[in-house]
Point group: C2
Chain length 374, copies 2
C-alpha cells in the first residue's frame, strides 16, 4: 500500500461504478471527493441521472468517447441477482481493468462466475468484496461519501485472484476510509448469515407482530422495542436477493432458533411444570452469554467504557453548553446519546468515557451545576 | 391533582418502599429528591443498606419507632413472584395506607390477591401500577431518581379500587416525573406481551446463537446486531418471573412468530421454488408495515424528524465545538447520536431536528467549515 497518486490516493482512476444506488453512488461520492475520475452507469436512466446530479461521477456515454474508456477499476454495485453477469460483462469489456463487486453474499457470485462460458481466463482480475456499511434507506439520494468511513471492508480473494488485483481492491477500501479485512468467501458468508441476515429476519418477524396491535399498546413502547425492530424498515426487494443467495447458511441458524423457540413455547405453555422455569432461565442466560460477545461501537469488547447520565433541559443551546463544558475538561466523549422524554421538556444525555474518567467528569460537571444522575 | 404539599409534591408522605432493588431504590431516590420522607425495607439486609447509603431513604427499624409508622402510601417493588403476598401483608399492617405495586405484569397480581384470605375487604386501597422504565442493569447501585422522568406509568385500577386510591397512585407517578396512563390490567398485559416481552425473548434467542461463533465473524458486526441483541443482557432471574406471569399472552404471540419462522424456513430451504421469493418479500414487507407503527423517541410518529450527519474529529472539544455552534443557530437538536469508527480518529454525529430546520442547519454549519454529509 505504498503507491500514492497525485491525489494522495492509492487508486489512480478512472473508476467505473456500475449500479448507482445507495452503495454505488456513495462509492462515487467518496472517490470524487478524493479527486478521482469516476464514471457511472446504471440500468435505470433516472437513478444514473440522480447519482450524477449529487456529484457521484460523470455518466458513461454509450455513443461517445466512452468506447475509449479504460478504467483502472470497475466496481460492480448492482443488486445481488445480476452481480455475476455484470462482473462477467465488465471482465470482457474492459480487459485491462480489475473488477470487484460489493455484493453482500460472496460464495454465490464466484460459483456463478465460474459456471459462465469464457470467464475463467479473466478471473485473475476479479476480486469479491463486501463493505460492511449500509443504511435502512436506499437509492442514490441516501448516498454519502463517508458511508464507509471506519467500517470493515471484507476482501474475498478466490483461489485464482491475482495479487495485484487484491491490492487494487484493497486500495479502493483504503481510499474510502474503510478498514480492509481479508477472509475466504466461506468465512464471510458464514459470518454475515449470523451477524447480519439473522438479526434482519428476526427483526422483521418481531415487527410483523405489531401490524394489528392497538396504537395504545404501541404508545407504551420503549427503546427495547425500538432497537429490536429498527432494521425491519429495510428494503424487501434487496433483502430477498441477499437471503436467497445465502439461504443454506441462514436456514441452518434458523433451525437452531426454531429449536430454542419451541423450548421456550413449551415452558410458557405450562410455566408451573417441573423444570419449566429452569429451562426459561437457561434460555435467558444463553442470551446473556451471546450478547456479552458482541463488540462495542469501536470494535472494542463490550463494557470497555464507563457511562454516566446528565439531565439536560430541552432548550436550544443546553446540550451545546454541556458539551462545551465537557470539552473544557479535556476528557473525550467516546459516545453520546440523547434520550428524550415524551411530553416533558427534559432530556437525559448518556455519555461514554474511558473507564476511570467517569468519576473525574462527574465531579467536574457537578461542580459546574449539572445534575449527573449516574 | 390540585393538592400540593409544602414540598410542591402531590404526595405528603411518608412513603414506605418495600423492595429496594433498581426500581424501589430509584423511587426512593426520586421522592427523597423532592423532599419526601421515604422509608425502605428489603428482605436482603445488604440491598437495604446499599439503598440507604445512596440516599434512597431511611431504613425501616423493626424494633424501634417504626411500629408507629403510618405511611400515606406503600410501594411494593419486590420481584413479581412475591408481589401479591407482600401487597396483602402491607394492606393488613398499614390499614390507613394506599398500597400500590409496580410489578410488570398486572392481571396475575389481582387474581392472586383476590384468592388470598381476608384481603378482599382491603382491596379498595390497592392499585396496580407499572412504570415503563428499567435498565439492563439491576440492584440499587444502578438506581437513579430520574429513571421515570417522562416515561409512561400505567395505572390499572381494579373494579373495587377507591377513586382516592387511584388518585394517590397517580400522585406517585406525577411526583416522579412520569406520565400516568390509565388502562385495565388486561389491556396492560396484552400490551407488554407485545412491546416488551416479545422483543426481550427474541433478542435473547438471537444473542444465544452468538455463543459459539468465531470472534472474527463478530468483529464485522454493525449496529443492526448490536441493537437487536442489546436487551439480551437483561437479568434472567427477573425475566423468568415476568414471563411466567404473562405466559399465556406471550405464548399466543410466539405461536404467530413460529408460524412466520416456519414460512421463512420453508422458503429458504428451496429459494428457487415457485413463489418462494414472493413469500420472502411478503414477510419482509409485513415487517416494514409493523415497524412503521413504532412511535419515535418523543412518542411521536416515526419520521417526524429530519436527520443530518456531520463529520467530527475524535479529539476532545470537537463535539462540544459542533454543538456550541449548533446552539448559536438557535435550532434545537431533537436527538444526537455519535457513531465512532473502529480504528479511525473520526466520528459521525447524527443529528435530528424538526423537519424544515435541516436545510437551515446544514447551510449554517457548512458556512462554519463543518462537513455535513447529509
Amino acid at each position: 500500500m505504498t503507491v500514492r497518486t497525485e491525489h494522495g490516493t492509492h487508486l489512480a482512476g478512472p473508476v467505473l461504478v456500475i449500479g448507482a444506488g445507495l452503495l454505488g453512488a456513495s462509492i462515487g461520492l467518496g472517490l470524487r471527493a478524493r479527486g478521482l475520475d469516476v464514471v457511472l452507469s446504471d440500468a435505470s436512466p433516472s437513478t444514473e441521472a440522480v447519482a450524477r446530479d449529487i456529484g457521484a461521477g460523470r455518466v458513461l456515454d454509450e455513443q461517445g468517447t466512452d468506447t475509449a474508456l479504460r478504467p483502472e477499476l470497475v466496481v460492480v454495485a448492482t443488486p445481488p441477482d445480476v452481480t455475476a453477469r455484470v462482473v462477467a460483462g465488465a471482465l470482457h469489456r474492459y480487459p485491462d481493468a480489475v473488477v470487484v463487486d460489493i455484493c453482500s453474499v460472496k460464495e454465490a457470485v464466484v460459483r456463478e462466475l465460474t459456471a459462465l462460458p469464457d470467464v475463467v481466463a479473466h478471473l485473475p482480475r476479479y476480486v469479491g468484496t463486501h463493505p460492511m456499511a449500509g443504511r435502512e434507506k436506499s437509492g442514490p439520494v441516501a448516498a454519502r461519501g463517508e458511508l464507509f468511513t471506519g467500517a470493515p471492508w471484507v476482501l474475498c480473494a478466490h483461489a485464482g485472484s491475482a495479487p495485484e488485483a487484491v491490492l487494487l481492491a484493497e486500495s479502493l477500501a483504503v481510499d474510502l476510509g474503510a478498514v480492509p479485512a481479508r477472509m475466504t468467501a466461506e468465512e464471510h458468508d458464514d459470518a454475515v448469515a449470523l451477524i447480519s441476515h439473522l438479526p434482519q429476519v428476526v427483526s422483521s418477524l418481531v415487527a410483523s407482530r405489531l401490524q394489528e396491535s392497538p396504537a395504545r399498546a404501541l404508545s407504551l413502547a420503549g427503546n427495547g422495542l425500538r432497537d429490536v425492530t429498527r432494521i425491519a424498515a429495510s428494503d424487501p426487494r434487496l433483502w430477498v436477493q441477499i437471503l436467497s443467495a445465502n439461504a443454506a447458511r441462514l436456514v441452518d441458524i434458523l433451525h437452531g432458533v426454531r429449536a430454542d423457540l419451541d423450548r421456550l413455547i413449551a415452558t410458557l405453555e405450562d410455566p408451573a411444570a417441573n423444570g419449566a422455569r429452569l429451562d426459561m432461565a437457561q434460555l435467558m442466560a444463553e442470551g446473556n452469554a451471546g450478547q456479552a460477545r458482541v463488540p462495542g461501537k469501536h470494535g472494542t469488547p463490550p463494557g470497555s467504557f464507563a457511562h454516566l447520565t446528565v439531565l439536560v433541559d430541552d432548550v436550544p443551546g443546553q446540550i451545546a453548553k454541556l458539551l462545551t463544558e465537557i470539552g473544557d475538561t479535556g476528557i473525550n466523549v467516546e459516545d453520546f446519546r440523547l434520550e428524550h422524554s415524551p411530553g416533558r421538556e427534559l432530556g437525559l444525555a448518556e455519555l461514554s468515557v474511558l473507564p476511570g474518567k467517569d468519576k473525574e467528569l462527574t465531579e467536574s460537571l457537578t461542580q459546574r451545576g449539572w445534575k449527573v444522575v449516574q
